[in-house]
Subunit: 229 residues, 2 copies
DNA sequence: GTTACGCTATGACGGGCGTCCTAGCCAGAG
DNA sequence: CTCTGGCTAGGACGCCCGTCATAGCGTAAC
């Protein structure tokens, strides 16, 4: 909760990631990031001489690494558990912030660079998305999924989750994410359970029972992005 | 092509939608919208006394209606054709703008209102998403999909497309959207082709042959959002 | 011709922005 | 003790923002 003193560079990056996930990149000002991190404005340009571009890029990478680490842990229990952990993570971000925060990687991907800036942030975002997909696809292949199936399905998983998180924010409800979750789960299950074919189609909803917030992520909504609202 | 004189209110709304789809809501300034629409700044507050909030809400509704109209036309040929048309439409927006424009509805959903503004824009965005889903679900039910299957699948379709469009912008490639497209197509096909069950699973990719830009939308990339780059 | 009104045109206001710069502080090395 | 260098502190520059007020224009009604 209160680490002794994170070198205040970390706090700046984490705060920037949090603010970007709420308001988008262009609406996130360095002044407010510094204030939120209890850091003088000058320190920001000391740590990030590249200015806002560099800070945004590091914030995206920070989030990407944090999610990848959690994902890696849960993927050791199989692709389905990894998927459930990922879903629980974003669900926790939404409910833990009253639907005010989302995915900073998506937020950055959606705003074209102002004028001058080279799309460095975009490249980082693309790399983060690609990394998540690759982790997922590798895990599915490891558990018997066809090579030609794993990668596109991993893309679908990430895209559907990202889109659903945004839709959840619009309608202030986790319904889109829950609906997407059920279908993604049965798709992944069908892709890895039966290496060749299925006796029943793996398209319908898995069961009338809803699967609440399992996933075993022991998710702390404040650890991915510091949100003090 | 060159309408006589769209009452310049239309141009403001369309320009705002286009700009929001590129830079996000907070980075879209009323001054630039007015300039882009060749309209004095004062006219903006004449037409939209509610200020930026009202303009943004109308821009989102405008985009939502434009897409819904196209979708309605293609859905008369069945859900699969509607899906293909929707995919072709967003694909055209991406390629027609060099991956600089996306979906303004998603863009608006992702930025929390500044401080004062009530989430009017968010409500409109939620309604637009809901409308698209409802159109799609109704078409699938009409073509034999289970009631409990059509609605979640419609949500998955919209979420996956929206997320994929954002990912395409990040990596400046239509690969995510193409991958998502193939899988969504077989999912929808499986949901409507066989009212009860399938002889082959409807999860894998439909066929090794890629389905290029059919969809018959006769898509003009400049008609949804005026993009003059 | 005159009047009324929708729209144009312009400028001002207060404020926040990204960026940079220059002192100042203060621990640790010599 | 002196000195060095990473970090703090705060101010300044020029620019753009959302909003509003007010005067001018044109056309259509009477």
């Amino acid at each position: 909760m209160d680490e002794p003193v994170p070198p205040s560079r970390q706090r700046i990056v984490a705060g920037a990631a949090d603010m970007i996930s709420r308001r988008g990149l262009n609406a996130t000002s360095i002044r407010e990031v510094a204030k939120h991190a209890q850091t003088p404005l000058g320190s920001t340009y000391h740590y990030f001489p590249g200015g806002k571009q560099q800070l945004a890029a590091e914030a995206v990478r920070f989030t990407g690494d944090a999610v990848a680490t959690r994902l890696r842990g849960m993927l050791r229990a199989g692709p389905v558990d990894g998927l459930l952990a990922l879903l629980a993570l974003w669900r926790g971000v939404l409910t833990g912030t009253n639907f005010q925060a989302g995915c900073p990687v998506l937020a950055v991907s959606i705003e074209e660079p102002a004028d001058d800036a080279s799309p460095e942030v975009l490249a980082v975002a693309a790399a983060v998305f690609g990394g998540w997909e690759a982790q997922f696809a590798a895990s599915m292949r490891l558990h018997g999924a066809d090579s030609g199936t794993a990668e596109p399905l991993a893309t679908l998983v990430i895209a559907a989750i990202e889109g659903a998180v945004a839709m959840c924010r619009a309608q202030r409800s986790t319904q889109p994410l829950d609906r997407v979750a059920a279908q993604l789960e049965s798709l992944v299950r069908a892709a890895v359970d039966n290496p060749a074919r299925a006796t029943d189609q793996g398209v319908d909803q898995p069961a009338p029972s809803d699967h609440r917030d399992r996933g075993g992520a022991t998710h702390d909504p404040g650890s991915l992005l510091s949100h003090r609202d």
